[in-house]
């Protein structure tokens, strides 16, 4: 593993409640990513960050917000969870070099009832 942890690993919540997922890295990588993985869709990018307080939207950003106040932490927030946000969420990091690969965290399984 590339020093990436995600918390919580599992969460069950109810529609309309706020949820925050945390990604923590110990490698001091500049780039961090949040993906969701759903059957038939593969991985889809939600948001990514290219530095502290520097973030941008991905392919499926509606209903999600992110924050990065420290290099090591990238938070994903569902302001008001919906059942369509039931998914497995993966965090990934990437180094500065142009051709660096991504390293993935273990994932968070989120169920919205």
């Amino acid at each position: 593993d590339a020093g990436i942890t995600q918390s919580p690993r599992h969460k069950v919540t109810e529609t309309g409640t706020p949820v925050t997922l945390r990604c923590h890295q110990t490698e001091n990588h500049r780039y961090m990513y949040w993906y969701r993985q759903d059957p038939g869709h593969g991985l889809r990018l939600i948001h990514y960050s290219y530095g502290v307080k520097d973030t941008d939207k991905g392919e499926v950003s509606d209903g999600y917000s992110v924050s990065r106040s420290k290099t090591e932490d990238f938070l994903l927030t569902l302001e008001s969870a919906t059942s369509s946000q039931t998914s497995v969420y993966f965090c990934a990091i990437r180094g500065l070099a142009v051709y660096n690969e991504q390293f993935f965290g273990p994932g968070t399984r989120l169920t919205v009832l």
Partner: protein, 109 residues
């Protein structure tokens, strides 16, 4: 969507056989990467091929890239039961990565 697509969606082979999976994508890229995902785990990087490369090898893995056809293939030779996993291609064009839907490979002992 700029997502790539893998083909086939599922593949079942006997141990020792070769496994080939293909990836097609839609836009110009800087590089293309292949990842493996074991059940319930995160993705693990396997190999990266740059847009100016046509073929690359790493151990039992062989990757080809045809930018004119916007396609790539991953060949796993002499497969093992431990190769059972899902395999994804990912294209990198602007710093964002776009993943395909994956090929589920089952290697039967």
């Amino acid at each position: 969507s700029q997502q790539g697509e893998e083909d086939p969606q599922a593949l079942s082979i006997q141990e020792g056989e070769n496994a080939t999976m293909n990836c097609s994508y839609k836009t110009s890229i800087n590089n293309l990467q292949w990842y493996r995902q074991n059940s319930g785990r995160g993705l693990v990087h396997l190999i990266l091929i740059r847009s100016n490369e046509r073929e690359k090898h790493s151990g039992r893995l062989r990757v080809t890239l045809d930018t004119s056809k916007k396609s790539s293939s991953l060949l796993i030779t002499a497969s093992r039961a431990a190769d059972t996993a899902s395999y994804f291609c990912a294209t990198d064009a602007t710093g964002q990565f776009y993943f395909g839907t994956g090929t589920s490979l089952t290697v039967i002992p």
